[in-house]
Every structure is written in structure tokens, then in C-alpha cells.
Subunit: 231 residues, 2 copies
């Protein structure tokens, strides 16, 4: 019985990794769809989010069934509860990737991103995808050092986010209001996506060490974005 | 033993109600602080979010202790797991209220909201606060009809959100890019805040009926905001 239990626990972990893989791919593809104004790709990202939602529902049902049947305590209990939270983070990340793809669809056949911001947005998309790939790796390896690295990658996203705001606030901004609105929301989507990836990694740290990531290795403090920009 | 258990379960419910009360108050005060350019009020909202975070941490610890000690099954288990999710919704709502207050602080001594949008933003803030008050009432009363009402209130927020976008996209927009960025983010904060209130109510419906709210009474379908605007 105990073996079936650990198998089930492992399979929950595998679902989390699969969700992270799917949403990491989604944010990369959504970014490409937007920069290339590729409607088909955008549509495929939008449709694919259902898979992530299904995985989450399935994972939740299994986690709750596990709690009811096996009544785990101590570490095992924490693993199940934390898995539920991670799945919520990942499901929400999928929504955010879908928002990016929907923006691509809304502005088709144009790209919502002006040429002079394409490199910044591309980099945000790549970083977001990489953060999620690392989060998946952290789930698999439970590597605390790698988990702590994610916060630095997140700082890099925050920097890019500030760069976007500097462009927006520059008097020479020439792309009009609609593009300003699009870029504002895009910046927010990538930032939130990255936050969720970091959150997943932090939860693994908490499982492994029993301490919250912030208590272990405070990264160099940077001013939160919202002291310099409204995001 | 069983009595202590139900007392503990009740006290978790009370914490949820208290969190909802705090974040409902926070969104109302943050809106006022922003419209009146009241720095002191903004600061107080920003500082008060710590209380919400503390309540969530405390609630989580108690819920996990309850799972470990009492090993609830069936409905009781679902209540505890759902409470954990509701507390996450409420904690996030608190963050969003704090974002509004931080925007008020960032633009002080100006208001980030231009006069001709003040009524719309005020209404969004009031609706958001009312939604959260109703969510608290739903937690207390477990009133499924009231819970389903929240979706209609949420539709009203979506309508206001579209109104904001129409203003932004109007060629006569004269408030410049910075204000467009601020208003875009504000619209998003209120919309997400309302989403979390609806989510809390839906979780109660699920607890009471065992069915997801969407399966019970589909509200009149409205096009999602993102078919008309990028949010």
C-alpha cells in the first residue's frame, strides 16, 4: 500500500513537470506568434491551454484522493499541499501565455510590438521560458541552489520591464496609445509569468529545507519595479 | 477531540472572512487614496497588507496542522483544501489593492486618474469592494444564489473595463502615455481583484453543491474582455 502511495506521489510530481513544460513552451510560442504576427501559432497556443487546465484538475483530484485515502503526515503531507499550490501557479502561468497569444490574435495581421521594442520583448519571452524550464528542473532535482538562481533571472526580467517603461515614458514615443496599452499589458504578463515560475521554485526550497527561500539567501535587494513604474 | 476539530475548522472560516473584510476595505481605501491623491491613506493601505499576509500564513499553518492531526476525509477534507485556495485568492487580492495604493503614492501629489475617468474608476473600485463584501457573506452564509450573483457583478466590472479601453483608444485621448499606462494597469488590477472575489464565491458553491459554479447556472455569455481589448 505504501508503495502505491509513493508511486502516486511521484506521478503528481510528473504532472507538475509536464505542466511546467507545457506552459514554458506556450510562453515561447506565444512570444513568437506575437513578434511574427503568426495567427495560426497564436491559435494553437490559445487552444493548447485546455491541456494545462485539464492536467491541473486531474492533479487536484488525485492529490485530494491521496489525502483522503493515505492521510499523509509531516513531509508527505507538505508535499501534497505544496503540489496543489504549484499546480495553481502553473495553471495561472498558462493563462498568462494565453493572454500573450490572444493579443497576437487581436492585432493580427499586425504585430502588437513595435520594431524598436521587439528585441526587449523577445528577451523577456526567452527569459520567461527559461525560468519555467528551470522551475521544472528544480521540481525534478530539488536543487536548492538552482532554485535560488531563479530569483536572479527574475531580477533580469524586472530590469527589462523597466526598460519597457522607460521607452513608454520617453517623450519620443511615437507608437500611439493603443501600442502603449498593449506593451504595458505585455510587460505585466511576462512579469507575472516569471513570478509564478519563481514561486514554484521557492515552494520546492521550502519543501526541501523547511525554510522559506527568502530566509536562506537574500539576493541583492533591488527596488521593486513599482517604485519606478506603476507595475 | 471532534469538537476541538470543528472549532478549529470554524476558526479557519473566520480567518477567511476577516481576510476578505480587510482586502475589501483595502481596495476601497486605495481607490479613495488614488482619486483624492491622499498620500497618507495610500501609505496606510500599503502597510496594512502585511496583516493580510500574516493571516494567510497563520491560516495555512493551521490548515496543515489540522490535516496532519485530524486527517479529515470527504467534505471536511474538501473544506480544508478549499480554504487554502480561498486564502490564496484573498492574499492576492490584497496585493492588488496594494498595487493601486502604490500607484497613488507614485503619482502623488497628482492623481493618476484624469478627471473624466474618475467616475468610471470610482465605480470599478466600489464594485470591487462590494464583490469582496459579498464573497465574505457567501463564506459565512454558504448562500449559493448569492454566490452566483457575483458573476453578474463581475460582468459589470468587465463592462467598465471596456469603457476604460474605449476611452484609451479614442482618438481624442489627451492625457498622454503615462496616464494611459496607469489607467491600463488600474483596469487590470480591478479586474483581477474582482476575479479573485468571484473565485472565492465559486469555491464555496463547489463545497456546498459538489459542482462547479459554471455547471449550475451559466450566466448570459458575454464576450471575454480580451476579444475587444487586450486585457
Amino acid at each position: 500500500m505504501r508503495d502505491a502511495y509513493h508511486e502516486e506521489l511521484d506521478s503528481i510530481g510528473e504532472s507538475l513537470v509536464e505542466m511546467a513544460r507545457l506552459v514554458g513552451s506556450a510562453i515561447g510560442r506565444a512570444t513568437t506568434a506575437m513578434l511574427d504576427a503568426d495567427l495560426k501559432l497564436a491559435e494553437s497556443v490559445i487552444a493548447a491551454d485546455q491541456k494545462v487546465d485539464d492536467l491541473q484538475h486531474d492533479l487536484e483530484a488525485r492529490a485530494i484522493a491521496l489525502l483522503a485515502r493515505q492521510q499523509p503526515v509531516a513531509t508527505d503531507l507538505r508535499i501534497v499541499v505544496t503540489s496543489l499550490r504549484m499546480s495553481a501557479d502553473l495553471e495561472r502561468s498558462g493563462d498568462l501565455a494565453q493572454h500573450v497569444a490572444k493579443l497576437a490574435r487581436l492585432r493580427f495581421p499586425e504585430s502588437p510590438v513595435p520594431r524598436d521594442l521587439a528585441a526587449t520583448i523577445l528577451e523577456m519571452g526567452q527569459l520567461a521560458q527559461r525560468l519555467m524550464a528551470k522551475a521544472a528542473e528544480v521540481i525534478i532535482t530539488k536543487d536548492v541552489d538552482l532554485a535560488l538562481q531563479l530569483e536572479q533571472d527574475d531580477d533580469a526580467i524586472d530590469m527589462l520591464h523597466r526598460t519597457l517603461f522607460q521607452h513608454l515614458m520617453d517623450d519620443r514615443w511615437k507608437h500611439g496609445i493603443e501600442t502603449a496599452v498593449d506593451v504595458t499589458l505585455l510587460g505585466r504578463y511576462y512579469e507575472r509569468f516569471a513570478d509564478h515560475a519563481v514561486s514554484v521554485a521557492k515552494r520546492v526550497v521550502y519543501l526541501v529545507t523547511g525554510e522559506h527561500a527568502d530566509e536562506i539567501a537574500p539576493t541583492t535587494p533591488v527596488a521593486p519595479v513599482d517604485t519606478e513604474s506603476p507595475a
